[in-house]
């Protein structure tokens, strides 16, 4: 039997408690990620405009990793003034 360590259990309990019916999957998140990241860059509270994307990013390590890299990429390009 696979052992589950205590940190995993804690994360799992939170993940179970925070489940919602309107969660979106990775594809829908990806579809809206360009809009979400531009709202963030413009300082326009993307978590309010696109709360389901925000929520997916909190739940999905893969999408979150890509989002953070995309943000860094765009910030670097903006800093260079294109």
């Amino acid at each position: 039997m696979t052992k589950i360590n205590v940190e995993t259990l804690k994360i799992l309990v939170h993940s179970i408690l925070e489940i919602r019916e309107d969660e979106i999957g990775c594809e829908t998140c990806f579809d809206q990620l360009d809009k979400f990241v531009e709202l963030n860059l413009a300082g326009k509270a993307p978590e309010q405009a696109l709360p389901l994307v925000q929520r997916h990013l909190e739940m999905c390590n893969g999408c979150c990793e890509e989002y953070e890299a995309l943000l860094e990429a765009l910030e670097a390009i903006e800093a260079e003034g294109h």
Binding site: T8, C26, Q32, G62, L70, A76
Partner: protein, 218 residues
């Protein structure tokens, strides 16, 4: 704005300009500009995440990304700047490939077992603010969840859940190893979490809100 030479300066290319310039046959100038933008973004987005030859890797990724962008032009909905949308695709192409290389050939079960770490450590569960009764209830909930994972989930659900939560394997890589796609895997995990939530209420006799209160300060 189009200059006398007929070239559209990079900074003034609108989304419509990009789409027009990249329709087949794509304008070589537009392709060169796009490649430059994607390369700069990839270098910035990946520099802290890869050890190898950054320039060589980003060249490959930019090339693959351009092909994907060209093949996906009709899915661009204009909800962001075209270059943001293209950069999103480039980052996705890069991460998909990096994950494939990093996790290649290591079975999920091995990764899960490697991450088992310490034996179950009750001390870690203690919350200095919580009274003994609350701590005991937290312990009960964790024990129940552990049992439910073993008893109530399918082998596939359990493996996917633990690979992600315990071994920190990215969801996309877990999907690849399980021969599915990320979206379907997310759905599988959603169903697993829902099953656990229902059974936790039944087995603990606590409502989800009550369990939430027990763990809200973690």
């Amino acid at each position: 704005m189009i200059t006398k030479s007929g070239q559209i300066p990079f900074s003034t290319r609108s989304n419509q300009d990009w789409l027009a310039a990249l329709q087949e046959p794509a304008s070589p100038e537009a392709l060169t500009e796009l490649r430059e933008i994607l390369l700069r973004g990839l270098r910035a987005g990946l520099s802290s995440r890869i050890d190898g030859d950054l320039d060589a890797l980003t060249e490959d990724f930019a090339q693959d990304a351009i092909l994907k962008v060209l093949a996906s032009l009709d899915t661009f909905r204009g909800e962001s700047r075209f270059t943001t949308w293209a950069q999103k695709i480039a980052i996705h192409v890069a991460f998909s490939e990096l994950r494939r290389r990093r996790w290649k050939d290591v079975p999920l079960q091995t990764l899960i077992e490697t991450a088992e770490g310490e034996e179950y450590t009750p001390a870690l569960l203690t919350d200095p603010v919580a009274g003994p009764e609350r701590q005991a209830t937290r312990m009960d909930v964790m024990n129940i969840v552990e049992d439910l994972v073993q008893e109530e989930l399918t082998e596939r659900q359990r493996e996917a859940l633990l690979a992600i939560l315990q071994a920190n394997v990215p969801l996309g890589e877990v999907a690849r190893q399980l021969n599915t796609n990320p979206n379907a895997l997310y759905k599988l995990l959603h169903d697993a979490r829902k099953r656990l939530q229902q059974r936790l209420e039944e087995k603990s006799g606590l409502k989800t809100q009550e369990v939430f209160a027990l763990f809200e300060n973690d």
